[in-house]
Amino acid sequence: MEKFKYLTHTADAKFVAKGRTHENVFMNSAYAMFNLLTDIKRVRGKTSVKIFLKSKTIENLLIDFLNELLFLLEVKNFVPAMKGHTIKITLRPGEAEIKGRIKGDNIKKYEHHGHIKSATYNEFSFKKIPRAYRAQIVVDI
């Protein structure tokens, strides 16, 4: 299954990410977002960050998760690697939670360009498709 692909968007960037589990689609969305800034395949898991977020819904949790990673990028220069994450998503009535660690490195060690202001709800969708989950996200650049 293709982890992510980009769709045409004039001013910003739009992508679709897929994954067999919630955890996979969340991480594939993150990879798609950071691949706009650097070649995500090259990033090594030299360090790790702790993630713990709660939102009302799985949809909100995904946007919050991406925005938390953008916060860590700006404050710690953190960019995720494509392997080594140990996140767990738990759904309860009226609550969605993500907890765990993500491996990555300092973006300044890699060729990078541009910036991302935020993950947005514009044209956002999150749905179950046969044998997978699909997220469509526009990030403001």
Binding site: A11, N60, F71, L73, E74, K108, H113, G114, H115, I141
Partner: protein, 477 residues
């Protein structure tokens, strides 16, 4: 909502009468050609969505450089009643007070062109550019609060501004309603190490030459007296701090039940009389103050570079003006014969107050407010002045820039950075960039024609062209 009928009001103004849930008509400032472009994306549909929001007055307006955004289109202007209307974080945008300033000098092209490499190298050294580059200024909580609550006053007190700089900024560089306490920990942490940094994307600092003077009297007020005179333009905003404030408040706004019925979740708003509207406005004003300080600190670094190369007298740079492109203001406008207080949202639009307005600095009051419209990398920028017609028709607003018309992905595929740099160099335009791909993304052809945009503003009477500026050297993130 996508079905609509466009009526031509004049050669550069079109109207979509109110239909369905629209409370007011949508007005679009465009030429036939730019209108056709707008019809290829969602900008018109988004402008019609804005016309449906509570408490909107007169029109939802799209400026000549309008294009698809999220919630509101980019290039949107809308005014909402201060009590029964709304304030919408998405109607201002993520980069709160993304804006532009221009400084003038007494130097000429012949003085600067032989030293442009040296100037750009110094600017590039003194101004952190791109992702991950931190400011040399470390702000503790007390100092960060002063930046957020006082704006340019902080910069004057800390040696980053001349005393006269403040009066040459919109709002005197300090929005009085700012309230640092309404900003989250995340926003503070993102901003703490970013004061005086340029960022990336379409943000830049540029050494320019005056290519053409259209209105010599007005230009003289700006200290621009002849062609080939040197100016400096800075385009950046409130950096991660502003982005985080928009993210945080949109998140809160988005959780309100009524948002599910909106055509786009990014239209989420706070009713104007609610506590959250008050808190968001306080936080937004604080981000605006941060942005003014950011451009001011960058100015001080460029002033340093010019003085080191040209000396204290010849290297002096005087601030002409500083404008916000993404902001909400409480303003009083004449609406249907009554003077009304409104939240004017400008998202990718420039304030364009006409002659005599009390909020224009005294030195410019007779001629109208300076309007600064940057072009894309390698293209011209313009200085215009505000008009009475803009006050009457657009809540005193006009265009803000070129606006993209090609995706970044396509631009990277289409334009080779080295080739682009060489082409620009052939035109005597020097580039310093933190990344090669950043140059490709910002290829001039990826943007609308800035000459066409300002011509529409001028011909529609919502801004009068004074000066055309041409780039000589650019630094980018």
């Amino acid at each position: 909502m996508a079905n609509y009928k466009i009526e031509k009001i004049s050669d550069f103004l079109y109207e979509i009468p109110a239909v369905g849930a629209m409370k007011v008509p949508l007005r679009i400032y465009a030429s036939e050609q730019t209108l056709k472009k707008m019809q290829t994306d969602k900008s018109i549909e988004q402008g019609m969505n804005v016309a449906c929001l509570p408490g909107i007055y007169k029109y939802s307006i799209i400026m000549p450089d309008g294009h698809q955004g999220y919630g509101f289109p980019i290039g949107a202007v809308a005014a909402f009643d201060i009590e029964n209307g709304i304030i919408s974080p998405g109607g201002i945008g993520y980069d709160i007070n993304c804006g532009v300033r221009v400084l003038s000098s007494s130097l000429r092209k012949s003085d600067v062109e032989p030293k442009i490499t040296q100037i750009l190298d110094k600017m590039f050294m003194y101004i952190p550019c791109g992702v991950g580059e931190k400011s040399h200024i470390k702000l503790n909580d007390t100092e960060l609060n002063k930046v957020l609550n006082k704006g340019i006053v902080w910069a004057v007190q800390n040696g980053y501004a001349e005393a006269s700089d403040a009066s040459k900024c919109e709002e005197n560089g300090s929005m009085q309603a700012a309230e640092a306490n309404f900003i989250t920990h995340h926003a503070r942490e993102r901003g703490r190490s970013q004061l005086g940094t340029l960022g990336a994307g379409n943000h830049f600092a540029e050494v320019q030459i005056v290519e053409k003077i259209y209105d010599a009297t007005a230009a003289q007020h700006f200290g621009i007296t002849e062609e080939n005179q040197i100016t400096v333009m800075i385009h950046t905003g409130s950096r991660g701090l502003g982005h985080q404030i928009c993210t945080d408040y949109l998140r809160i706004a988005e959780e309100q039940d009524f948002v599910r019925s909106l055509p786009d979740r990014e239209l989420a708003y706070f009713p104007a009389s609610s506590n959250k509207a008050h808190e968001y406005f306080g936080a937004m004003c604080a981000a605006a103050n941060f942005a003014w300080c950011n451009r001011q600190v960058i100015s001080s670094q460029i002033r340093r570079a010019f003085i080191e190369i040209f000396g204290q007298i010849e290297g002096k740079l005087n601030l002409i003006y500083d404008v916000a492109h993404n902001i909400a203001k409480i303003e009083t406008h004449n609406i249907d014969g009554k003077s009304r207080k409104v939240y004017v949202h400008r998202k990718g639009a420039t304030r364009a107050f006409g002659p005599g307005h009390a909020e224009i600095p005294e030195i410019y009051r007779k001629i109208g407010q300076p309007i600064l419209i940057p072009g894309s990398m390698g293209t011209a920028s313009y200085i215009l002045i505000g008009t009475d017609k803009a006050m009457d028709d657009t809540f005193g607003s006009t265009a803000h820039g070129a606006g993209r018309e090609m995706s970044r992905h396509e631009a990277i595929k289409k334009y080779n950075a080295d080739k682009l740099c060489n082409e620009l160099l052939d035109r005597h335009i020097h580039i310093r960039s933190a990344s090669r791909k950043g140059i490709s993304e910002e290829a001039p052809a990826a943007y609308k024609n800035i000459d066409e945009i300002v011509k529409i503003s001028d011909m529609a009477g919502i801004g009068k062209i004074v000066v055309k500026l041409k780039p000589l050297g650019v630094i980018k993130g």
